[in-house]
């Protein structure tokens, strides 16, 4: 019952052999496969977080680009507005000066024409006077009639004289 002999050495050898066998056939492969799976899962998680970080970076870059584009467009619109305003002012100014010029030339033309008309009128008045004088000489008319003619003549001529 309580016998201790050489068998315990055999049992120790048995244990070592059993350990080697089980490690080779049972525990080793299982632990190996579990370790592989753990590595695979860790890898997958790492991958996922990497890709998420990448996506976030891309997103921020796009957002930057978008805000840049917005700024750019606003700037362009403002530039265009400023350009248009300048052009408008320029055109307005030009129109004003042109109108001024036209007015001035028109006034000059009017002046010239009036002067011409006056001169023409003077000439007509002179010929009228001559006509009247001839009429007075030729017609034998009454004193009263001649008086009236004189008056008329004087009136016309006098007006002319007053102007001068």
């Amino acid at each position: 019952m309580l016998s201790l002999d050489f068998n315990f050495v055999l049992e120790m050898i048995n244990l070592v052999i059993l350990y080697l066998l089980l490690r080779k056939f049972l525990i080793g492969p299982l632990m190996n496969i579990m370790e592989k799976r753990r590595a695979m899962i860790a890898d997958g998680l790492q991958n996922a977080s990497d890709q998420q970080a990448q996506a976030m970076e891309l997103k921020s870059r796009y957002e930057d680009a978008l805000t840049g584009a917005k700024d750019e467009s606003r700037r362009m619109i403002e530039q265009a507005k400023a350009d248009a305003k300048k052009e408008y002012d320029r055109i307005l100014e030009q129109a004003g000066t042109e109108a001024d010029q036209m007015m001035r030339s028109a006034r000059e033309t009017i002046d010239v024409e009036r002067e011409q008309a006056l001169r023409q009128m003077k000439a007509e008045v002179a010929s009228l006077a001559v006509d009247a004088a001839r009429k007075v000489m030729a017609d034998s008319c009454t004193a009263r009639e001649s008086q009236a003619v004189y008056d008329q003549f004087l009136k016309e001529a006098g007006d002319l004289h007053e102007d001068k």
């Binding site: 019952m1 201790l4 120790m12």
Partner: protein, 250 residues
């Protein structure tokens, strides 16, 4: 050798033949069951008697290895089968359990602890199939305890160096050094005797109960002494070994 089983059992047999007493018969049967008789002799060094327990251990080894080879095949990282999942969860549980005691950095000792727990559990339960449990032989438990002792001291030396190992006997005060040195042998002795005593005691109690009440009553007791106690002792043995290793590695 502490006793000579042959002489005592032979005497008992003769006594039974002479008197035919039932108690004597029981004693004889018990002794027959308890004694691990040599099965054959290896004809070297003047003949080495190989005990039954060693032969049963060989059978267990063969069975375990064969089952491992059969079940641990076609392992897949993805979509594992049911058998693989069951094996993985069992081994994973054992791995976590031992790593929880001795720490993740000492995981190299885990396969041995799993192997020993498996062996002790199967040995304790193999009595159900009619084989004589190897753990009922003192040689087997002594071998297990010596292996544990070697492992405990080796892990301490490997972890902290020989110098630290030599010095740790004199802590906390040099006065306790003899007791600390004795601990090297007391630990495996307690491991070995606990396992052996439990198996022997359980067996004897069961035999006595069967003799007194052969009907129904032995069933729940058999569940306790043959199955639960066997698994519990396997657990206790490896648990204490791991605990001592951890203590030694600190």
């Amino acid at each position: 050798m502490l006793t000579n089983p042959f002489v005592s059992s032979n005497i008992l047999r003769k006594n039974i033949e002479k008197e035919g007493d039932s108690t004597e018969e029981l004693t004889a049967n018990l002794l027959e069951e308890l004694n691990c008789t040599p099965v054959f002799e290896i004809p070297v060094f003047g003949g080495i008697a190989v005990n039954e327990s060693i032969v049963v251990t060989w059978i267990i080894m063969a069975a375990l290895t064969l089952l491992s080879v059969i079940f641990v095949r076609n392992l897949k990282v993805e979509n594992p089968g049911k058998v693989q999942l069951a094996l993985e969860s069992a081994v994973g549980w054992a791995q976590d359990f031992f790593e929880g005691i001795i720490g993740k950095e000492n995981r190299r000792y885990v396969p041995y602890l799993i192997c020993v727990s498996l062996y002790i559990a199967v040995s304790n339960l193999i009595g159900l199939t009619g084989f004589k449990p190897p753990t009922k032989d003192l040689n087997v438990t002594v071998a297990l305890a010596i292996m544990s002792m070697l492992l405990i001291e080796y892990s301490g030396i490997h972890r902290n160096g020989l110098k630290h190992w030599m010095a740790h006997f004199a802590k906390p005060v040099p006065f306790v050094a003899p007791i600390m040195v004795m601990e090297i042998f007391i630990r495996p002795l307690s491991l070995c005797m606990r396992l052996f005593g439990n198996m022997l005691g359980g067996f004897v109690v069961m035999e006595l109960v069967k003799l007194v009440v052969p009907l129904i009553v032995p069933i729940p007791l058999s569940f306790y002494f043959d199955i639960f106690d066997g698994l519990l002792q396997a657990y206790v043995f490896v648990f204490l070994t791991a605990l001592f290793m951890n203590e030694e590695m600190e």
